[in-house]
Symmetry: C2
Subunit: 114 residues, 2 copies
Amino acid sequence: MKFAGTHLLVDLWEATNLDDPALIDRTLCEAAVAAGATILHSHFHHFTPNGGVSGVVVLAESHISIHTWPERNFAAVDIFMCGACDPHIAIPVMQKTFRAGRVDLDEQRRGRVF
Amino acid sequence: MKFAGTHLLVDLWEATNLDDPALIDRTLCEAAVAAGATILHSHFHHFTPNGGVSGVVVLAESHISIHTWPERNFAAVDIFMCGACDPHIAIPVMQKTFRAGRVDLDEQRRGRVF
């Protein structure tokens, strides 16, 4: 079977550095490049009053998104990559910043071609 | 149990209108508003030579993304919404544009709080 891409849904618990959009932007871009992806665009939004961050890096090979809840030390990340990229490589790069105590990972294959 | 949000992974097969970034931008924004979401930012990229489109709408309540493969009549959509939004409402709005012959839907609850 062939697939259009691999989509990882990554829940980060007991995590840190969830309220700094510039740091999160740099972290996700570094993670994308480490995974072999090409960055086309990134956009991050900082919410008030809780400091949460929502953002996305659009890639030539799909995207990485993040939504953080600093008050819960929780972030929901998804990493969707097609082509020769390995999205799993992005996770340890993110962990250098977010240092999650628990990482829940769900992997979906998108666009299965029989 | 409580959750931070609902994340729908929607694979559209036998779909149309997958190579027009302006139409896709309008469609995803309309779908977001129908679902009760507030749009913060949208960005769409048009690939050459196959005409595929990648893009995202960043919402106050998370995001909608799309990646299209016009040559396969396939698009991979994800709709992540927290709060009072109903992401399921976004799907029929998208179907008015994409008219997929088959829709594969996977629903994930993100950030489960016991």
